[in-house]
């Protein structure tokens, strides 16, 4: 009995997402820690791009607590990464609905490494402002496709919309972003 429990909570040799998820459901905290380490950067960048940087740690915590609580509801047909992105998008949307956004967010922004700091900061601010101009539907598709580099199929799974809708939203989001960048002097 004791041995059984030990095996149930042992970290699996297989390091795949599905093996780690199965071990986490059995109560293996080490496996969940591995999943956290694997996805935390992606989750944080998605949250930062969809909302802002002011409550990034709180939102990150909310995403991973939701993942932990609902791991067992993950369907076998669904990939873990898509599911994680979906939770992140939902947390971001909730955050925006609650109006927690701050107008100033430069404090938490990572400083650019290159020498030409002024233009890099300016370009980042323009992109940030461009994202802010988009509605959430367009922004989420643009962020997931062009920044997180997910496929249209993955985005359709994450957002629960048809692929055709992803395409049309992406087309519109890009057109608006392009116009905004041109208007603000960005050199594409």
């Amino acid at each position: 009995m004791v041995l059984d429990r030990f095996h149930m909570t042992q970290t699996p040799r297989d390091d795949s997402d599905s093996a780690l998820v199965a071990a986490s459901i059995s109560g293996c905290e080490e496996s969940f820690r591995k999943l956290y380490q694997r996805y935390v950067v992606r989750v944080r960048s998605t949250l930062a791009r969809l909302t802002d940087l002011s409550h990034i740690d709180d939102m990150t915590q909310e995403v991973f607590v939701n993942i932990w609580r609902n791991l067992a509801s993950l369907r076998s047909t669904e990939t873990f990464s898509s599911w994680v992105y979906r939770i992140a998008v939902n947390v971001a949307l909730d955050h925006l609905k609650q109006g927690k956004r701050k107008s100033t967010e430069a404090l938490n922004e990572e400083p650019p490494a290159e020498k030409d700091e002024a233009s890099a900061i300016e370009a980042k601010q323009i992109v940030r402002a461009g994202l802010d101009k988009l509605n959430f539907q367009h922004r989420s598709v643009l962020v997931l496709h062009d920044m997180e580099q997910l496929t249209e199929k993955e985005i359709s799974e994450i957002l629960g919309i048809p692929q055709g809708t992803v395409k049309s939203r992406l087309f519109n989001a890009r057109a608006r972003m392009r116009t905004f960048l041109h208007e603000n002097g960005a050199k594409l």
């Binding site: 969940f32 956290y36 944080r44 607590v65």
Partner: protein
Amino acid sequence: MSDNRFNDERLKKYLQDHAPTPVAPEDGLEDKILDAAKSQGAKPDLVQSFFSNKNFLIGLGSLLAIVTSVTLGIWVGQRRNAALVPLEKFAEETWDGALGEDLEEEPNIIVDLEE
């Protein structure tokens, strides 16, 4: 078409190069998050997850509907049978009493003309 694709690729590159990037998580955030997750329950909430599954709820609803229909059908059938038994008995008694016995005797319909 190819011009659009070229523009899309340039836009994508520009967005990736200048995308908002969060700072690295503060020290201890990992433990803080894992502690918060654990405090929500020792293990992932299997019961909640089980019942929040949409397909499961649809299946459960269908099963309940079938069980209710069958139970109702059996109950109605029993009630019907219970109502029919006395009716058959009543019909038998009535038939025997009102018609059967009388028919066994010859009806006295011959009129004695001489009287």
